[in-house]
């Protein structure tokens, strides 16, 4: 029951945290920035609107937003939010989840290709390329976690005391893992320095350009889906950064939510202090995460012997 409540809480809070990034960026730019509730206003506004469909699109186009939102919510059900046991968990679920997110991406790409717009085609090509490198990183981290915990489940890695156990077992190399996960989060969620969520320039976009043709409730689904995805990745980082569990659910929740805030602020700061990489340099940046995860694994496995 609590687990179900936590999933609803996560869906409810995801848009708020995304607005924290906007606030931090505005602060660095010397502006007041939009209100912290801006994303709720936007979602409500979009849901009230109607959707417009191009005559050249098919059912795939309408399916895209729904599948990606559903994939994101399903993933959330396997996630031990604030260290609480998730609704579902089974051995090997992490691989299922990674490819569930992949399925969501596949449908977003298919919907983008369905419009036959050259912009969206370019965006789709980029969106298909960069996550491949992220996948390598995630599997490297998986290998490390599997060796250390003997489990292949998200619930086992991130609930209760396990993250603290990782730190005990691996020590400093786990810092590499945190950094690698941070890079994967920036890439998977189309943040600066990989993509620029604020730009209006179609030719430089990755994620934004693929959803140009979506409108109204469809676009609201996509937005909510991406907020949840960001929430998913930052939850993993939060649990690693702050592995304490005091045993009082309320206190743990507060600590968790505060640390989440810190992770989002870190995203905002990253976006404010650096420019975006040139498109052909992005793979190098993403590969850095793989190198970090690789070294963490090699070093830790050596220690564990």
């Amino acid at each position: 029951m609590t687990s179900v409540l936590f999933v609803f809480l996560a869906i409810l809070l995801a848009p708020f945290y995304a607005a924290v990034i906007l606030k931090v960026k505005a602060f660095f730019g010397g502006k007041k920035g939009p209100p912290l509730l801006i994303n709720y206003y936007t979602l409500v506004k979009l849901i009230k609107k109607g959707s417009v469909y191009s005559t050249s699109t098919t059912a795939i186009f309408k399916l895209g937003p729904m599948v990606s939102l559903c994939a994101a919510i399903t993933v959330l059900m396997f996630l031990p939010i604030a260290g609480q046991p998730p609704i579902f968990a089974f051995q090997g679920d992490i691989i299922f989840l990674l490819y569930l997110l992949g399925l969501g991406r596949f449908f977003t790409i298919a919907a983008a290709m369905d419009t036959a717009s050259p912009f969206e085609g370019m965006g789709a090509a980029r969106e298909a390329y960069f996550p491949i490198i992220c996948e390598a990183t995630l599997f490297m981290i998986l290998i490390l976690f599997y060796v250390m915990s003997g489990d292949l489940s998200l619930a086992a890695y991130f609930s209760a005391g396990q993250p603290a156990g990782f730190w005990k077992a691996a020590g400093a190399p786990l810092l590499f893992v945190v950094l690698a996960l941070f890079i994967v989060m920036l890439t998977e969620n189309s943040r600066v320095p990989v993509d620029d969520p604020a730009t209006h320039l179609e030719l430089t976009m990755i994620h934004e350009v693929m959803v140009l043709d979506h409108s109204g409730p469809d676009f609201a689904f996509i937005e909510l889906g991406s907020f949840i995805k960001l929430f998913f990745y930052s939850t993993m980082i939060t649990r690693l950064v702050c592995p304490v569990t005091l045993g009082y659910p309320a206190v743990d929740l507060v600590v968790f939510l505060a640390t989440m805030g810190v992770v989002y602020v870190a995203v905002g700061v990253t976006e404010s202090v650096m420019a975006r990489y040139r498109m052909d340099k992005v793979p190098q940046f993403v590969l850095t995460s793989f190198a970090l995860a690789f070294f963490a694994t090699v070093i830790s496995l050596e220690f564990l012997k």
Partner: protein, 502 residues
């Protein structure tokens, strides 16, 4: 070099009878020889006189040279060996149906029927109002894809069509088709009352209101023999430099925004507003419209104005310097700017790039230094040039010019300025005269050329915005560059659509 071309002064009227009227073959050979030996085309256009059509060219070496001839119906294109004529010949073909035989890229410029109902050189049907209706260059191959952008863009960008031929993310060729903003300004300027001329001139390109306004005013002053007083020259110089500051500061911010580095983008946006408000203080219009009129300026600059402007500039200067430092000291920004969209010095010469875009490619030409007008002869304009021709050079060029312009404005605000404001319309232009004016506006060389007939009526008003030269520079920058770097390159030029389309 010894030619029959007549040397003229910037903003000095000449009797049209003194302009050498050559045989076409001599005109062609001598013009090409001048350009081949390092000269550039300032103006090359046709006009109607009596029953015939005549050509007039204004070229520049270290001097301004002019000559004319009777226009043939067709002639072997000069662009074949002498590239700087390329766009001018296309314009001639479009406006007066004079066919340059063997022109390497004979394509319409602005998509309008010629002025005399002659048979169209391009075989277009102008009843169909689709300017993009033209066969673009296409690269063929299995992995080639075309991306068409525009003419309608997001936001408040003017219309223009961009056609990219790409292999993957790499651009092989970019073709730019403009003309969507064609308002027929050159013809309009002949058919309205004199009172409306300055207003139309300031509207040729809204972001270069002072630059075009100044070219117009200087031309009319030369034709009516009414020179502005020294005070007016200083105020006009301040107006032109403020325009440069507004746009360069705005451009640096936009460049920063395009690489998703937000702090300087926000600061520059705000500071651009501050500079615009200085123009507002000077003449009641943020873009400097209504400041310059033939004979001087319409608004004085009192000591209170001077102190206010100087005070504001003093406050802004450290902020501007700090923002420029922040932008160029950030490694990730430099990584994006450096080596992106480079144009070689040789290509820049052939394309005839002007202004900051040209100076970024090592062409130091600056009208303020070489053909000074207004107060510029008394100022020491530094020789700016960067060798690399990339986005970094174009951005750095702007930053340097911002710092220089602030110094210029600061020094001009030091001493009291006295001027008699212009209240009356200018008198009648001199008959049978020709005048060409050049000014270094923020984008580069703006030039107007005015011809009058024997009754003092304006028979031809030719306008050239620096964008006319520089659009092809942007196309050249994109060769072999990632398509995702197009917006960045585009901002680094920031060219005018309406200034080109007229």
């Amino acid at each position: 070099m010894q030619t029959d071309f007549l040397e003229i002064g910037n903003g000095k009227a000449v009797d049209r009878h003194r302009i050498p009227h050559l045989a076409f073959e001599d005109f062609r050979t001598q013009a090409m020889a001048l350009v081949d030996s390092g000269g550039k085309v300032v103006q090359y256009f046709a006009y109607e006189e009596g029953d015939g059509i005549k050509l007039l060219a204004v070229l520049r070496t270290d001097r301004l040279l002019t000559a004319g001839c009777d226009a043939p119906e067709a002639y072997p294109a000069m662009s074949l060996t002498c590239e700087p004529f390329h766009l001018f010949e296309r314009e001639l073909a479009e406006q007066f149906a004079i066919r340059p035989e063997g022109h390497p890229w004979l394509k319409m410029v602005r998509y309008h029927p010629n002025y005399h109902g002659r048979k169209d050189v391009f075989g277009n049907d102008y009843k169909a109002d689709i300017p993009g209706n033209y066969g673009y260059y296409a690269v063929e191959g299995e992995e080639i894809h075309e991306v068409a952008v525009g003419p309608v863009h997001a936001g408040v960008i003017e219309p223009g069509h961009f056609r990219f031929n790409c292999i993957g993310e790499r651009v092989l060729h970019l073709e730019i088709q403009l003309g969507y903003q064609h308002r027929g300004i050159e013809q309009l300027l002949l058919n309205v009352s004199h009172r409306r001329l300055p207003i139309i001139a300031e509207g040729i390109a809204g972001d270069t209101a002072v630059g075009h306004g100044l070219c117009y005013a200087q031309a009319i002053e030369a034709l009516t023999d009414k020179a502005p007083d020294d005070g007016a020259r200083i105020i006009r110089t301040i107006g032109l430099e403020l325009e440069r500051l507004q746009n360069h500061v705005g451009d640096l911010g936009a460049l920063s925004g395009d690489v998703a580095f937000l702090p300087p983008a926000n600061y520059c946006g705000r500071m651009r507003g501050d500079f615009l408000n200085m123009s507002l203080w000077l003449c009641g219009n943020r873009f400097g419209k209504g400041l310059v009129r033939p004979g001087g300026v319409r608004f004085p600059m009192t000591d209170v104005d001077r102190e206010t402007l100087a005070g504001r500039l003093q406050e802004l200067k450290p902020q501007v310097c700090h923002t420029i430092e922040l932008l160029f000291a950030t490694p990730s920004v430099r990584a994006r700017f450096e080596g992106c969209g480079a144009v070689s010095n040789d290509d820049a010469h052939k394309l005839g790039l002007v202004g900051p875009a040209g100076r970024a490619c090592g062409i130091a030409y600056d009208v303020r230094r070489e053909f000074p007008t207004e107060h510029y002869a008394q100022l020491n304009i530094p020789k700016n040039a960067k060798p690399t021709g990339d986005v970094y050079a174009r951005a750095r060029m702007r930053a340097d010019e911002i710092l220089q312009s602030m110094d210029i404005v600061e020094s001009l605000l030091e001493n009291p300025v006295l001027t008699q404001c212009v209240e009356t319309a200018p008198g009648e232009p001199a008959p049978s005269a020709m005048v060409v004016t050049l000014n270094e506006a923020w984008r580069g060389e703006v030039s107007h050329c005015v011809l009058t007939d024997d009754k003092g009526q304006i028979v031809r008003y030719k306008v050239k915005d620096p964008s006319f030269h520089n659009w092809n520079g942007l196309a050249m920058s994109l060769r072999d560059t990632g398509i995702s770097d197009f917006p960045l390159n585009n901002k680094s030029y920031n060219l005018s659509y309406c200034g080109f389309d007229l």
